[in-house]
Symmetry: C2
Subunit: 236 residues, 2 copies
Protein backbone atom coordinates (compact mmCIF):
# COMPACT_ATOMS: atom_id res chain seq x y z
CA UNK A 1 0.00 0.00 0.00
CA UNK A 2 1.34 3.39 -0.98
CA UNK A 3 0.33 6.95 -0.43
CA UNK A 4 0.20 9.99 -2.68
CA UNK A 5 -1.17 13.34 -1.55
CA UNK A 6 -2.43 11.67 1.58
CA UNK A 7 -4.48 9.03 -0.22
CA UNK A 8 -3.70 5.33 0.10
CA UNK A 9 -3.48 3.48 -3.20
CA UNK A 10 -3.37 -0.19 -4.03
CA UNK A 11 0.12 -1.25 -5.03
CA UNK A 12 0.85 -2.61 -8.49
CA UNK A 13 -2.54 -1.76 -9.99
CA UNK A 14 -3.28 1.14 -12.29
CA UNK A 15 -5.71 2.10 -14.98
CA UNK A 16 -5.02 3.68 -18.34
CA UNK A 17 -7.68 5.46 -20.32
CA UNK A 18 -8.08 6.00 -24.04
CA UNK A 19 -10.29 9.07 -24.28
CA UNK A 20 -11.83 9.43 -27.71
CA UNK A 21 -13.01 12.75 -29.07
CA UNK A 22 -14.19 13.84 -32.50
CA UNK A 23 -13.33 17.19 -34.02
CA UNK A 24 -13.15 18.50 -37.57
CA UNK A 25 -13.91 15.07 -38.93
CA UNK A 26 -10.98 13.50 -37.09
CA UNK A 27 -10.87 10.90 -34.36
CA UNK A 28 -8.62 12.03 -31.54
CA UNK A 29 -7.48 10.85 -28.13
CA UNK A 30 -6.05 12.57 -25.08
CA UNK A 31 -2.31 12.28 -24.51
CA UNK A 32 -0.27 13.66 -21.61
CA UNK A 33 3.28 14.97 -21.89
CA UNK A 34 5.52 14.80 -18.86
CA UNK A 35 7.65 17.76 -17.77
CA UNK A 36 11.08 18.03 -19.37
CA UNK A 37 11.18 14.47 -20.63
CA UNK A 38 9.69 14.34 -24.10
CA UNK A 39 7.73 11.35 -22.86
CA UNK A 40 4.09 10.91 -23.78
CA UNK A 41 1.55 8.69 -22.06
CA UNK A 42 -2.13 7.91 -21.77
CA UNK A 43 -4.00 9.54 -18.89
CA UNK A 44 -3.97 7.03 -16.08
CA UNK A 45 -4.00 6.70 -12.37
CA UNK A 46 -4.18 4.49 -9.35
CA UNK A 47 -7.04 3.00 -7.37
CA UNK A 48 -7.59 4.21 -3.85
CA UNK A 49 -7.89 1.48 -1.26
CA UNK A 50 -11.61 1.97 -0.67
CA UNK A 51 -12.63 3.04 -4.14
CA UNK A 52 -14.42 1.03 -6.82
CA UNK A 53 -12.29 0.46 -9.89
CA UNK A 54 -14.91 2.06 -12.12
CA UNK A 55 -15.18 5.02 -9.77
CA UNK A 56 -11.44 5.55 -9.76
CA UNK A 57 -11.40 5.86 -13.53
CA UNK A 58 -14.47 8.06 -13.56
CA UNK A 59 -12.98 10.38 -10.94
CA UNK A 60 -9.65 10.51 -12.69
CA UNK A 61 -11.22 11.48 -15.98
CA UNK A 62 -13.42 14.04 -14.34
CA UNK A 63 -10.31 15.68 -12.94
CA UNK A 64 -8.74 15.83 -16.42
CA UNK A 65 -11.77 16.92 -18.40
CA UNK A 66 -14.21 18.51 -15.98
CA UNK A 67 -16.95 16.18 -17.25
CA UNK A 68 -19.28 14.12 -15.09
CA UNK A 69 -21.13 11.04 -16.35
CA UNK A 70 -18.55 10.14 -18.95
CA UNK A 71 -19.33 7.13 -21.12
CA UNK A 72 -16.78 4.52 -20.02
CA UNK A 73 -16.10 1.00 -21.18
CA UNK A 74 -13.55 -1.38 -19.75
CA UNK A 75 -11.90 -3.31 -22.56
CA UNK A 76 -8.82 -5.23 -21.38
CA UNK A 77 -6.38 -5.72 -18.54
CA UNK A 78 -2.69 -5.62 -19.38
CA UNK A 79 -0.54 -7.84 -17.21
CA UNK A 80 2.75 -8.66 -18.90
CA UNK A 81 5.48 -8.86 -16.28
CA UNK A 82 7.84 -6.73 -18.37
CA UNK A 83 5.44 -4.00 -19.46
CA UNK A 84 6.92 -1.40 -17.09
CA UNK A 85 10.20 -0.01 -18.29
CA UNK A 86 11.70 1.48 -15.17
CA UNK A 87 14.03 3.82 -17.06
CA UNK A 88 11.08 5.72 -18.48
CA UNK A 89 9.40 6.10 -15.12
CA UNK A 90 12.70 7.05 -13.48
CA UNK A 91 13.18 9.78 -16.04
CA UNK A 92 9.73 11.15 -15.26
CA UNK A 93 10.33 11.18 -11.52
CA UNK A 94 13.79 12.67 -11.83
CA UNK A 95 12.60 15.40 -14.16
CA UNK A 96 10.24 16.38 -11.38
CA UNK A 97 13.04 16.09 -8.82
CA UNK A 98 11.26 13.30 -7.02
CA UNK A 99 13.92 11.10 -5.50
CA UNK A 100 12.25 10.35 -2.23
CA UNK A 101 11.89 6.80 -1.17
CA UNK A 102 8.16 7.29 -0.75
CA UNK A 103 7.64 7.38 -4.50
CA UNK A 104 9.76 4.38 -5.38
CA UNK A 105 6.63 2.22 -5.52
CA UNK A 106 5.82 3.88 -8.83
CA UNK A 107 8.81 2.12 -10.34
CA UNK A 108 7.51 -1.34 -9.59
CA UNK A 109 5.53 -3.63 -11.78
CA UNK A 110 1.96 -2.58 -12.58
CA UNK A 111 -1.01 -4.42 -13.93
CA UNK A 112 -3.17 -1.94 -15.76
CA UNK A 113 -6.88 -2.01 -16.53
CA UNK A 114 -7.71 -0.34 -19.83
CA UNK A 115 -10.84 1.80 -20.28
CA UNK A 116 -11.97 3.79 -23.23
CA UNK A 117 -14.14 6.88 -22.96
CA UNK A 118 -16.22 8.80 -25.46
CA UNK A 119 -16.55 12.50 -24.84
CA UNK A 120 -17.66 15.61 -26.63
CA UNK A 121 -14.49 17.61 -27.09
CA UNK A 122 -16.41 20.89 -27.14
CA UNK A 123 -17.51 20.50 -23.53
CA UNK A 124 -14.03 19.87 -22.15
CA UNK A 125 -11.41 21.97 -20.43
CA UNK A 126 -8.23 19.99 -20.14
CA UNK A 127 -6.18 19.80 -16.93
CA UNK A 128 -2.76 18.13 -16.91
CA UNK A 129 -1.74 16.44 -13.67
CA UNK A 130 1.13 17.45 -11.40
CA UNK A 131 3.76 15.57 -13.38
CA UNK A 132 2.62 16.74 -16.81
CA UNK A 133 2.96 19.83 -18.93
CA UNK A 134 -0.03 19.15 -21.05
CA UNK A 135 -3.06 17.06 -21.72
CA UNK A 136 -3.81 17.46 -25.41
CA UNK A 137 -5.85 16.03 -28.26
CA UNK A 138 -3.88 14.04 -30.81
CA UNK A 139 -5.17 12.71 -34.08
CA UNK A 140 -5.39 8.93 -33.76
CA UNK A 141 -3.25 8.62 -36.87
CA UNK A 142 -0.60 11.06 -35.70
CA UNK A 143 0.19 9.97 -32.18
CA UNK A 144 3.60 10.67 -30.70
CA UNK A 145 5.62 7.72 -29.49
CA UNK A 146 4.04 6.59 -26.22
CA UNK A 147 5.77 5.10 -23.20
CA UNK A 148 5.62 1.46 -22.20
CA UNK A 149 2.92 -0.55 -23.97
CA UNK A 150 0.57 2.39 -24.35
CA UNK A 151 0.56 2.13 -28.15
CA UNK A 152 -0.85 -1.39 -27.92
CA UNK A 153 -3.39 -0.21 -25.36
CA UNK A 154 -4.59 2.35 -27.88
CA UNK A 155 -4.73 -0.26 -30.61
CA UNK A 156 -6.79 -2.59 -28.47
CA UNK A 157 -9.14 0.22 -27.48
CA UNK A 158 -9.71 1.17 -31.09
CA UNK A 159 -10.29 -2.42 -32.07
CA UNK A 160 -12.84 -2.81 -29.27
CA UNK A 161 -14.61 0.37 -30.31
CA UNK A 162 -14.85 -0.93 -33.87
CA UNK A 163 -16.18 -4.28 -32.71
CA UNK A 164 -18.82 -2.63 -30.54
CA UNK A 165 -19.91 0.19 -32.81
CA UNK A 166 -22.83 -1.75 -34.25
CA UNK A 167 -23.89 -3.27 -30.96
CA UNK A 168 -24.02 -0.46 -28.47
CA UNK A 169 -23.57 2.66 -30.55
CA UNK A 170 -22.38 4.89 -27.73
CA UNK A 171 -21.61 7.56 -30.27
CA UNK A 172 -23.95 10.30 -29.15
CA UNK A 173 -21.25 11.18 -26.65
CA UNK A 174 -18.80 12.08 -29.40
CA UNK A 175 -21.12 14.34 -31.36
CA UNK A 176 -23.09 17.30 -30.14
CA UNK A 177 -26.67 16.92 -28.96
CA UNK A 178 -27.90 17.35 -32.53
CA UNK A 179 -26.11 16.31 -35.69
CA UNK A 180 -26.73 15.69 -39.35
CA UNK A 181 -26.72 12.27 -40.94
CA UNK A 182 -23.55 13.24 -42.78
CA UNK A 183 -21.79 14.03 -39.50
CA UNK A 184 -22.87 10.71 -38.01
CA UNK A 185 -21.68 8.87 -41.11
CA UNK A 186 -18.36 10.71 -41.01
CA UNK A 187 -17.86 9.55 -37.45
CA UNK A 188 -18.56 5.95 -38.41
CA UNK A 189 -16.11 6.26 -41.26
CA UNK A 190 -13.19 7.53 -39.22
CA UNK A 191 -13.80 4.90 -36.55
CA UNK A 192 -14.09 2.05 -39.01
CA UNK A 193 -11.53 3.56 -41.36
CA UNK A 194 -13.61 2.81 -44.44
CA UNK A 195 -15.99 4.58 -46.75
CA UNK A 196 -19.68 3.80 -46.31
CA UNK A 197 -22.43 4.13 -48.90
CA UNK A 198 -24.63 7.13 -48.10
CA UNK A 199 -28.00 5.62 -48.96
CA UNK A 200 -27.34 2.35 -47.21
CA UNK A 201 -26.05 4.08 -44.09
CA UNK A 202 -29.06 6.37 -43.83
CA UNK A 203 -31.49 3.51 -44.36
CA UNK A 204 -29.84 1.42 -41.67
CA UNK A 205 -29.69 4.21 -39.11
CA UNK A 206 -33.32 5.15 -39.63
CA UNK A 207 -34.49 1.53 -39.53
CA UNK A 208 -32.90 1.04 -36.12
CA UNK A 209 -35.42 3.45 -34.66
CA UNK A 210 -32.95 5.11 -32.33
CA UNK A 211 -32.86 8.57 -33.90
CA UNK A 212 -35.24 11.46 -33.53
CA UNK A 213 -35.61 13.92 -36.40
CA UNK A 214 -35.61 17.62 -35.67
CA UNK A 215 -35.61 20.84 -37.67
CA UNK A 216 -33.45 21.35 -40.73
CA UNK A 217 -30.01 22.87 -40.58
CA UNK A 218 -29.51 25.66 -43.08
CA UNK A 219 -25.82 26.00 -43.75
CA UNK A 220 -26.07 28.84 -46.28
CA UNK A 221 -24.75 26.61 -49.04
CA UNK A 222 -26.54 26.32 -52.35
CA UNK A 223 -28.15 22.95 -51.77
CA UNK A 224 -30.83 21.08 -49.92
CA UNK A 225 -30.60 21.46 -46.16
CA UNK A 226 -30.22 18.28 -44.09
CA UNK A 227 -32.30 17.41 -41.05
CA UNK A 228 -30.79 17.43 -37.60
CA UNK A 229 -31.06 14.27 -35.51
CA UNK A 230 -30.55 13.30 -31.90
CA UNK A 231 -30.51 9.94 -30.16
CA UNK A 232 -33.83 9.03 -28.59
CA UNK A 233 -34.02 8.80 -24.84
CA UNK A 234 -33.42 5.22 -23.74
CA UNK A 235 -32.27 4.31 -27.22
CA UNK A 236 -30.28 1.29 -26.07
Amino acid sequence: MSTLNGVEYIDHIAYDSVVFGYAAGRLKILVMEYHNTGLFALPGGFIAMHEDLDEAVKNGLEARTGLKDIYLEQFHTFGKADRNKTDEMKKILEANEIHQKEFQWMLSRFISVGYYALINHELVTLHPDALSDSCTWYDINKLPKLIQDHASIVAKALQTLRDQIDRKLPLFALLGEKFTMQELQGLYEVILDEKLHRGTFQRKMLSMDILERHEKKYSGAANKAPYLYSFKKNWN
Copy 2:
Protein backbone atom coordinates in the same frame (compact mmCIF):
# COMPACT_ATOMS: atom_id res chain seq x y z
CA MET B 1 3.71 -8.21 -1.29
CA SER B 2 2.75 -11.52 0.28
CA THR B 3 4.12 -15.02 0.25
CA LEU B 4 2.52 -18.44 -0.01
CA ASN B 5 4.53 -21.64 -0.23
CA GLY B 6 7.64 -19.57 -0.68
CA VAL B 7 6.36 -17.65 -3.70
CA GLU B 8 5.85 -13.91 -3.61
CA TYR B 9 2.49 -12.74 -4.89
CA ILE B 10 1.17 -9.33 -5.81
CA ASP B 11 -1.15 -8.02 -3.13
CA HIS B 12 -4.79 -7.30 -3.86
CA ILE B 13 -4.82 -8.88 -7.32
CA ALA B 14 -6.29 -12.25 -8.20
CA TYR B 15 -7.76 -14.05 -11.14
CA ASP B 16 -10.89 -16.17 -11.30
CA SER B 17 -11.52 -18.66 -14.06
CA VAL B 18 -14.73 -19.97 -15.56
CA VAL B 19 -13.75 -23.32 -17.04
CA PHE B 20 -16.31 -24.56 -19.52
CA GLY B 21 -16.71 -28.20 -20.39
CA TYR B 22 -19.32 -30.11 -22.39
CA ALA B 23 -20.60 -33.52 -21.42
CA ALA B 24 -23.78 -35.44 -22.17
CA GLY B 25 -25.21 -32.48 -24.02
CA ARG B 26 -24.77 -30.18 -21.05
CA LEU B 27 -22.61 -27.11 -20.57
CA LYS B 28 -20.66 -27.34 -17.32
CA ILE B 29 -18.10 -25.38 -15.37
CA LEU B 30 -15.57 -26.25 -12.70
CA VAL B 31 -16.44 -25.32 -9.11
CA MET B 32 -14.31 -25.80 -6.00
CA GLU B 33 -15.69 -26.63 -2.57
CA TYR B 34 -13.71 -25.55 0.48
CA HIS B 35 -13.09 -27.90 3.39
CA ASN B 36 -15.78 -27.98 6.07
CA THR B 37 -17.45 -24.78 5.05
CA GLY B 38 -20.13 -25.56 2.49
CA LEU B 39 -18.67 -22.68 0.49
CA PHE B 40 -18.26 -22.95 -3.27
CA ALA B 41 -16.04 -20.82 -5.48
CA LEU B 42 -14.54 -20.53 -8.92
CA PRO B 43 -10.99 -21.80 -9.35
CA GLY B 44 -8.74 -18.82 -8.91
CA GLY B 45 -5.34 -17.77 -7.76
CA PHE B 46 -2.80 -15.05 -7.36
CA ILE B 47 -0.16 -13.60 -9.65
CA ALA B 48 3.47 -14.15 -8.75
CA MET B 49 5.58 -11.01 -8.71
CA HIS B 50 7.54 -11.89 -11.84
CA GLU B 51 4.88 -13.77 -13.72
CA ASP B 52 2.79 -12.61 -16.67
CA LEU B 53 -0.91 -12.37 -15.84
CA ASP B 54 -1.79 -14.75 -18.67
CA GLU B 55 0.87 -17.19 -17.54
CA ALA B 56 -0.41 -17.18 -13.98
CA VAL B 57 -3.85 -18.22 -15.14
CA LYS B 58 -2.46 -20.80 -17.52
CA ASN B 59 -0.28 -22.33 -14.81
CA GLY B 60 -3.09 -22.33 -12.30
CA LEU B 61 -5.42 -24.15 -14.64
CA GLU B 62 -2.77 -26.62 -15.61
CA ALA B 63 -2.39 -27.48 -11.94
CA ARG B 64 -6.14 -28.08 -11.61
CA THR B 65 -6.73 -29.96 -14.85
CA GLY B 66 -3.39 -31.39 -15.95
CA LEU B 67 -3.88 -29.79 -19.37
CA LYS B 68 -1.33 -27.69 -21.21
CA ASP B 69 -2.22 -25.22 -23.97
CA ILE B 70 -5.68 -24.49 -22.66
CA TYR B 71 -7.80 -22.11 -24.70
CA LEU B 72 -8.06 -19.01 -22.51
CA GLU B 73 -9.83 -15.72 -22.99
CA GLN B 74 -9.76 -12.75 -20.65
CA PHE B 75 -13.22 -11.20 -20.46
CA HIS B 76 -13.51 -8.68 -17.62
CA THR B 77 -11.86 -7.29 -14.51
CA PHE B 78 -13.96 -7.04 -11.37
CA GLY B 79 -13.05 -4.16 -9.10
CA LYS B 80 -15.91 -3.24 -6.80
CA ALA B 81 -14.52 -2.14 -3.47
CA ASP B 82 -17.01 -4.29 -1.55
CA ARG B 83 -16.76 -7.49 -3.58
CA ASN B 84 -14.75 -9.34 -0.92
CA LYS B 85 -16.88 -10.44 1.98
CA THR B 86 -14.35 -11.04 4.72
CA ASP B 87 -16.62 -13.35 6.70
CA GLU B 88 -16.60 -15.90 3.90
CA MET B 89 -12.85 -15.83 3.55
CA LYS B 90 -12.41 -15.96 7.33
CA LYS B 91 -14.56 -19.05 7.48
CA ILE B 92 -12.41 -20.72 4.83
CA LEU B 93 -9.17 -19.92 6.61
CA GLU B 94 -10.52 -20.94 10.01
CA ALA B 95 -11.85 -24.23 8.70
CA ASN B 96 -8.29 -24.95 7.64
CA GLU B 97 -6.98 -23.77 10.99
CA ILE B 98 -5.08 -20.97 9.41
CA HIS B 99 -4.94 -18.16 11.90
CA GLN B 100 -1.42 -17.01 11.32
CA LYS B 101 -0.79 -13.40 10.62
CA GLU B 102 1.00 -14.31 7.43
CA PHE B 103 -2.25 -15.23 5.72
CA GLN B 104 -4.22 -12.20 6.78
CA TRP B 105 -3.50 -10.57 3.40
CA MET B 106 -6.04 -12.95 1.89
CA LEU B 107 -8.75 -11.12 3.81
CA SER B 108 -8.06 -7.81 2.15
CA ARG B 109 -9.66 -6.29 -0.87
CA PHE B 110 -8.97 -7.98 -4.20
CA ILE B 111 -9.39 -6.88 -7.77
CA SER B 112 -9.94 -9.96 -9.87
CA VAL B 113 -9.32 -10.55 -13.55
CA GLY B 114 -11.83 -12.94 -15.09
CA TYR B 115 -10.83 -15.56 -17.68
CA TYR B 116 -12.85 -18.25 -19.33
CA ALA B 117 -11.41 -21.48 -20.59
CA LEU B 118 -12.70 -24.15 -22.96
CA ILE B 119 -11.53 -27.65 -22.28
CA ASN B 120 -12.38 -31.20 -23.23
CA HIS B 121 -13.69 -32.74 -20.07
CA GLU B 122 -12.61 -36.21 -21.16
CA LEU B 123 -8.94 -35.29 -21.07
CA VAL B 124 -9.00 -33.90 -17.55
CA THR B 125 -8.07 -35.23 -14.14
CA LEU B 126 -9.22 -32.78 -11.53
CA HIS B 127 -7.02 -31.67 -8.63
CA PRO B 128 -8.45 -29.55 -5.81
CA ASP B 129 -6.07 -27.14 -4.15
CA ALA B 130 -4.89 -27.26 -0.55
CA LEU B 131 -7.93 -25.47 0.83
CA SER B 132 -10.51 -27.43 -1.12
CA ASP B 133 -12.16 -30.80 -0.88
CA SER B 134 -13.15 -30.98 -4.47
CA CYS B 135 -12.95 -29.52 -7.91
CA THR B 136 -16.02 -30.73 -9.74
CA TRP B 137 -18.10 -30.20 -12.86
CA TYR B 138 -21.44 -28.48 -12.30
CA ASP B 139 -24.16 -27.99 -14.86
CA ILE B 140 -24.28 -24.31 -15.72
CA ASN B 141 -27.98 -24.30 -14.86
CA LYS B 142 -27.54 -26.07 -11.53
CA LEU B 143 -24.73 -24.21 -9.85
CA PRO B 144 -24.51 -24.14 -6.07
CA LYS B 145 -24.50 -20.75 -4.40
CA LEU B 146 -21.07 -19.26 -4.98
CA ILE B 147 -19.11 -16.98 -2.70
CA GLN B 148 -18.62 -13.27 -3.24
CA ASP B 149 -19.55 -12.05 -6.73
CA HIS B 150 -18.65 -15.31 -8.43
CA ALA B 151 -22.17 -15.79 -9.75
CA SER B 152 -21.94 -12.55 -11.69
CA ILE B 153 -18.49 -13.54 -12.92
CA VAL B 154 -20.03 -16.71 -14.36
CA ALA B 155 -22.85 -14.71 -15.94
CA LYS B 156 -20.42 -12.33 -17.59
CA ALA B 157 -18.28 -15.19 -18.86
CA LEU B 158 -21.28 -16.91 -20.39
CA GLN B 159 -22.45 -13.69 -22.00
CA THR B 160 -18.98 -13.14 -23.48
CA LEU B 161 -18.86 -16.68 -24.81
CA ARG B 162 -22.23 -16.15 -26.49
CA ASP B 163 -21.11 -12.88 -28.02
CA GLN B 164 -17.94 -14.44 -29.37
CA ILE B 165 -19.25 -17.79 -30.55
CA ASP B 166 -19.73 -16.64 -34.13
CA ARG B 167 -16.51 -14.69 -34.31
CA LYS B 168 -13.81 -16.97 -33.05
CA LEU B 169 -15.49 -20.32 -32.71
CA PRO B 170 -13.08 -21.76 -30.18
CA LEU B 171 -15.36 -24.72 -29.77
CA PHE B 172 -13.14 -27.52 -30.96
CA ALA B 173 -11.70 -27.46 -27.46
CA LEU B 174 -15.02 -28.49 -25.94
CA LEU B 175 -15.71 -31.43 -28.22
CA GLY B 176 -13.53 -34.40 -28.96
CA GLU B 177 -11.19 -34.41 -31.93
CA LYS B 178 -13.99 -35.72 -34.14
CA PHE B 179 -17.68 -35.00 -33.79
CA THR B 180 -20.91 -35.16 -35.74
CA MET B 181 -22.76 -32.14 -37.01
CA GLN B 182 -25.51 -32.90 -34.52
CA GLU B 183 -23.04 -32.77 -31.64
CA LEU B 184 -21.67 -29.45 -32.84
CA GLN B 185 -25.17 -28.06 -33.19
CA GLY B 186 -26.08 -29.31 -29.72
CA LEU B 187 -23.11 -27.44 -28.30
CA TYR B 188 -24.17 -24.24 -30.04
CA GLU B 189 -27.66 -24.70 -28.69
CA VAL B 190 -26.70 -25.11 -25.05
CA ILE B 191 -24.34 -22.14 -25.25
CA LEU B 192 -26.85 -19.88 -26.96
CA ASP B 193 -29.79 -21.42 -25.10
CA GLU B 194 -31.93 -21.54 -28.23
CA LYS B 195 -32.97 -24.06 -30.84
CA LEU B 196 -31.28 -23.78 -34.23
CA HIS B 197 -32.58 -24.99 -37.57
CA ARG B 198 -30.73 -28.11 -38.66
CA GLY B 199 -30.45 -27.35 -42.37
CA THR B 200 -29.42 -23.75 -41.87
CA PHE B 201 -26.84 -24.67 -39.26
CA GLN B 202 -25.24 -27.33 -41.42
CA ARG B 203 -25.16 -25.05 -44.46
CA LYS B 204 -23.51 -22.27 -42.50
CA MET B 205 -20.90 -24.48 -40.88
CA LEU B 206 -19.94 -26.09 -44.17
CA SER B 207 -19.84 -22.76 -46.01
CA MET B 208 -17.34 -21.41 -43.49
CA ASP B 209 -14.80 -23.88 -44.79
CA ILE B 210 -13.38 -24.65 -41.37
CA LEU B 211 -14.45 -28.29 -41.06
CA GLU B 212 -12.91 -31.40 -42.49
CA ARG B 213 -15.14 -34.37 -43.25
CA HIS B 214 -14.04 -37.83 -42.20
CA GLU B 215 -15.52 -41.32 -42.18
CA LYS B 216 -19.09 -42.01 -41.13
CA LYS B 217 -20.06 -42.89 -37.60
CA TYR B 218 -22.24 -45.98 -37.38
CA SER B 219 -24.18 -45.79 -34.16
CA GLY B 220 -26.13 -49.03 -34.62
CA ALA B 221 -29.39 -47.14 -34.83
CA ALA B 222 -31.84 -47.75 -37.66
CA ASN B 223 -31.06 -44.66 -39.67
CA LYS B 224 -28.57 -42.96 -41.92
CA ALA B 225 -25.15 -42.62 -40.33
CA PRO B 226 -23.72 -39.10 -39.98
CA TYR B 227 -20.25 -38.05 -41.04
CA LEU B 228 -17.62 -37.21 -38.48
CA TYR B 229 -15.94 -33.81 -38.73
CA SER B 230 -12.91 -32.11 -37.24
CA PHE B 231 -11.71 -28.53 -37.36
CA LYS B 232 -9.14 -27.89 -40.05
CA LYS B 233 -5.64 -27.02 -39.01
CA ASN B 234 -5.26 -23.25 -38.87
CA TRP B 235 -9.00 -22.82 -39.18
CA ASN B 236 -9.06 -19.36 -37.65
